[in-house]
């Protein structure tokens, strides 16, 4: 009997019950001999890179100018003798000092920088500090169990003697790593090594009809091949909480998802945000975010920038803001990003290729320099979703194997490393 004097149980409890009843069946994995492959860089430890970059990192904003100048020194001409090195990339950001010294804001920043530094697309790294940041460079190395060595250099501007001396030392450090980085070569590896971060930006009404379901079909293929797809953007997906929870592979995963959604409701309370307003991309009643994930079950839930170790479809808690979300996924190990858009975006991540899929051919024609895959034929009825999914999957293997994306051709990425600024300033 229902006690009507008590408030209704939260939706999450009801949804968890639904989840148990409607849980998707486990995906059928293909046997290795049936599986597709791509050309990747096999790193020590067995992880596989889709690109081969050297990264110039900063523990705080104070090192940003030096880091950019070190990276900018390595023009195409100066890298010409190192054909296997894709580039020297600055990973600068606006935080690291003037912030909380301990707790989740600092932990989050540290695991984002360290996770990116460990991403298999990074062959070697320089980390620059001014020297007196709250994100102390030695504390950072210790907490993240990083050990300086031939492929991981630590530069402290106050010890080296300032900007110009640090830039010179940084250039020398990168030069010392180039031969080892250039010695890396691509080899054929199974698709199970592909970790795809799912993104969206500037969606439109057709996103739910073409780009998102087609991307979902491609992700189903990826999962069947043993690969990994990371669904994110909690503030967006919380709008369709029931549908998300129904995808959990276990009650435990469902509870973790519900917990993150609950956190977001508290974080957004009283704020003019999409979650507080109840906005849904693509308009009311749509659920295009979840479509990008295909039809398989969510195997695990990760907090922002935590290392993704499970295979199959997983969830990482991030804002919907593409730069912050992609940064968390890459720190978690994503080696390819798929971004679905409707009205177009120029986004491209640093060091990890971003494949942009557009929902309609009009935008594709207008922004062809930026967009990789036109899903307009699905919206036009010319191609079915399963067929578009197969085409996308094949294109992803090409991009993973080294075919440059539009964003890479344009040189986009040096401004897109944005760790989630979750705390207060000091």
């Amino acid at each position: 009997m229902v006690d009507i004097s008590r408030p209704l149980a939260p939706d999450t409890a009801a949804d968890a019950a639904v989840s148990a009843a409607t849980r998707p069946a486990p995906a059928r994995l293909l046997s290795p001999e049936q599986g597709a492959s791509f050309q990747g860089y096999v790193r020590p430890g067995g992880r596989v890179g889709t690109r081969n970059h050297i990264g110039v990192f900063v523990v705080g904003n104070c090192g940003a100018t030096a880091a950019r100048k070190v990276a900018d020194h390595f023009t195409g001409k100066r890298l010409a003798a190192f054909a296997n090195v894709d580039g020297v990339v600055p990973f600068v950001h606006e935080i690291g000092c003037g912030m909380e010294m301990t707790g989740e804001p600092m932990n989050l920043l540290r695991r984002t920088i360290a996770g990116t530094l460990r991403n298999p697309n990074i062959a070697g790294a320089v980390v620059i500090a001014l020297g007196c940041e709250r994100n102390n460079i030695r504390g950072f190395f210790e907490q993240e169990k990083l050990v300086a060595g031939p492929l991981l250099h630590m530069l402290v501007m106050q010890e080296i003697g300032g900007t110009a001396a640090t830039i010179a030392a940084g250039i020398a450090a990168v030069e010392s790593m180039l031969p080892a980085a250039n010695a890396q070569t691509r080899s054929s590896v199974p698709v199970e090594h592909l970790v795809v971060g799912l993104q969206s930006a500037a969606p439109d009404a057709l996103s739910a009809v073409s780009a998102d379901p087609a991307l979902g079909a491609a992700m189903d293929l990826l999962v069947r091949h043993g690969g990994t797809a990371i669904l994110s953007e909690t503030s967006e997906l919380a709008q369709v909480e029931g549908a998300v929870l129904a995808r959990a592979a276990s009650a435990e995963v469902g509870a973790q998802l519900a917990q993150r959604i609950h956190w977001w409701r508290g974080y957004s309370a009283g704020r003019d945000t999409r979650l507080a307003r109840g906005d849904r991309s693509g308009g009311p009643g749509t659920c295009s975010g979840i479509q990008r994930a295909g039809s398989t079950a969510l195997q695990a839930v990760y907090e922002y920038a935590h290392p993704v170790t499970a295979r199959g479809l997983v969830f990482m808690d991030t804002p919907a803001y593409a730069a912050v979300s992609a940064t968390g996924q890459i720190a978690g190990g994503a080696n390819l990003l798929c971004l679905s858009t409707g009205s177009g975006t120029g986004f491209g991540a640093a060091a990890v290729p971003t494949v942009k899929l557009v929902s309609n051919s009009t935008t594709f024609a207008r922004m062809e320099d930026d967009l990789d895959i036109d899903c307009g034929p699905v919206a036009d009825g010319a191609v079915g979703v399963p067929e578009m999914g197969r085409r996308i999957f094949e294109r992803l293997l090409d991009y993973a194997s080294g075919v440059p994306t539009k964003a890479e051709e344009l040189g986009v990425g040096d401004n897109e490393f944005v760790p989630w600024p979750i705390g207060v300033l000091a």
């Binding site: 904003n61 090192g63 940003a64 100018t65 950019r68 100048k69 600068v92 606006e94 000092c97 003037g98 912030m99 909380e100 010294m101 301990t102 001014l130 020297g131 007196c132 940041e133 102390n136 504390g139 501007m157 106050q158 003697g161 300032g162 900007t163 001396a165 500037a202 503030s235 974080y267 957004s268 704020r271 003019d272 945000t273 979650l275 307003r277 919907a320 803001y321 730069a323 912050v324 009205s343 177009g344 975006t345 120029g346 986004f347 491209g348 207008r366 922004m367 320099d369 930026d370 344009l410 040189g411 040096d414 401004n415 897109e416 600024p421 979750i422 705390g423 207060v424 300033l425 000091a426």
Partner: protein, 530 residues
């Protein structure tokens, strides 16, 4: 007390390329006030060193810039520096003991604000006697110290396009326009994925708007993706900005993507170059100088040399009719009563206390400076806690009356010493001051900073000679002579003021020569992510 005994010669153990002066060798400690019960080491001092001036012997090795007890201090007794309480002895402390965060507790103080009670108006120099500099007078009468074209973004989504447009205008491209200092990007991480309305968005808009209207910004291009939370049209309306020949807009989605937008933006900037170049410097009164005061990487010397010397320079500037903006609210916490007492009106004093109260709430339960935590660098430099750091930091503003209190990035209209509420975090703080109209930044540092800013240049002042020598390519002014016993604060203040006039007149600062400043535009990210 045997004051006649001579101290053993001190051998400096600090790795330094500079020989300590005789004054330093005679007495390695500085006394800041006759009533203080601590004195400060000018250089690293070994244990067992007699200190003749105070008749004590060092009980431990004392790092450079750190303090010792000048007499025995009982548990719970206030620790006095500049005759101001910086904490309480956490144990019974024998004379000569090294004093730091391990034995100085951060206690609760009862403050007497004395709102406006000590206000004495500044005696301004008559206009004809005021110092002059070579400035660029704009149509509205405001005066610029530099002449830039800015490439702005309403959101992060335009960052790459903005950097590539600005990056196109290298020295060769600008060779025909010698009166333009550069085309600079003002990119940031906000504008998308944030709250659509309320203070976070208002703050972002007034920061971009203020920087764009800055007298040092001769022309501006504003870039949008086309559908960000900080929508272009709404931004322009909010800031009362009307596009025209010197304020152009560019929407990436409408332009047809990244490549076409870059080409279009380059053409738009190019069209602004002749008009931007058609300016000349002319002698103007120093009353048009508005200095944003900053400190970063402070050490135990900052409060002894660079900060009070800068304060002396600001008192000269203020007598000349100019303006100095003190900020970093979380870093004046604990000494705000020294400002409220000399506020122009009680209301101005109360405005400052209201901002402090806001900060205590904003930082409640957080591991931040206002709750007693100084950064590891500050701590290593000898600053035991936020009170001690605040005490030294507030000296940057000198002792002029407090004329007004502004919120972050609000336009500064009062002359004299004013306060703007900002975080202590340098790029965010300087960005707010520049948006408010600061046309120069004076930045003191002890451990060494590599900060720079546009469109207003940053002058960096070193608190000690060894660091100045180590980082000379980044430092503009050495205030070490004050520590070395070779210059008084008043002399140093005059030297700083003279150099401020030169940099205001166009002489490049070190950070300008190094090309630092285009990663340092950081509007305060106040809200939540979306």
């Amino acid at each position: 007390m045997n004051t006649a005994s001579t101290s053993a010669p001190i051998t400096p153990t600090l790795a330094s390329t500079v020989r300590p002066s005789d004054a330093v060798l005679r007495n390695p400690f500085i006394r800041l006030d006759p009533l203080d019960n601590v004195i400060v080491a000018r250089l690293e001092v070994p244990a067992g060193t007699p200190v003749a001036s105070d008749g004590v012997t060092t009980q431990q090795m004392v790092p450079s810039g750190h303090k010792i007890a000048a007499r025995a201090i009982g548990r719970g007794e206030p620790v006095l520096k500049y005759n101001t309480v910086i904490g309480f002895a956490s144990e019974d402390i024998p004379a000569g003991t090294w004093m730091h965060s391990h034995n100085i507790a951060f206690g609760e103080l009862v403050k007497d604000y004395r709102h406006g009670l000590d206000y004495v108006p500044t005696e301004l120099l008559p206009p004809e006697q005021r110092a002059r500099f070579q400035g660029i007078v704009r149509d509205d009468g405001r005066v610029a110290t530099r002449n830039y074209i800015g490439v702005f973004v309403v959101s992060h989504s335009g960052a790459t396009v903005a950097r590539k447009i600005a990056g196109f205008f290298d020295a060769d491209e600008l060779a025909a326009f010698p009166h333009i200092d550069g085309v600079v990007p003002f990119v940031h991480e906000q504008g998308a994925g944030m709250e659509k309305s309320g203070e976070p968005m208002d703050m972002l808009r007034r920061t971009i708007g203020g920087t764009l209207r800055h007298p040092n910004t001769a022309g501006a291009l504003v870039i949008a993706l086309g559908e960000e939370h900080n929508e272009l049209g709404a931004f322009l309306a909010h800031q009362g900005l009307v596009p025209g020949p010197m304020l152009q807009t560019l929407v990436i989605q409408r332009a047809g993507g990244t490549r076409k937008a870059i080409a279009a933006g380059i053409a738009q900037v190019r069209a602004m170059l002749p008009a931007a170049d058609a300016v000349r410097r002319e002698p103007v009164s120093a009353e048009h100088i508005m200095v944003g005061l900053q400190c970063g990487g402070s050490d135990g010397f900052s409060g002894l040399s660079a900060n009070p010397a800068l304060g002396a320079a600001m008192e000269i500037l203020i007598r000349n009719g100019g303006t100095a903006i003190l900020s970093e609210t979380s870093e004046i916490y604990g000494v705000e009563h020294t400002l409220t007492a000399r506020a122009r009106t009680p209301a101005v004093g109360r405005k400052l206390v209201a901002r402090i109260d806001w900060w205590l709430d904003y930082n409640r339960g957080r591991d931040t400076q206002i709750n007693g935590q100084v950064s590891p660098g500050n701590n290593a430099g000898g600053l035991a806690n936020v009170l001690e750091k605040s005490l030294g930091g507030a000296k940057k503003g000198g002792n002029a009356p407090l004329m007004e209190v502004y919120e972050y990035a609000e336009p500064v209209t009062q002359h004299g010493l004013v306060f703007m509420d900002t975080p202590g975090y340098d790029p965010v703080s300087a960005t707010g001051q520049i948006a408010g109209g600061a046309n120069l930044i004076c930045f003191t540092t002890g451990r060494g900073s590599c900060f720079g800013s546009v469109p207003a240049p940053t002058i960096k002042l070193a608190s000690n000679t060894p660091m100045y020598v180590r980082m000379q390519a980044d430092m503009d002014i050495n205030c070490g002579p004050v520590i070395d016993g070779e210059a008084t604060l008043a002399q140093m203040g005059q030297q700083i003021f003279a150099q401020v006039l030169r940099h205001a007149s166009g002489e490049p600062t070190r950070s300008e020569a190094l090309g630092v400043g285009t990663n340092e535009f950081v509007p305060w990210p106040l809200g939540v992510s979306d």
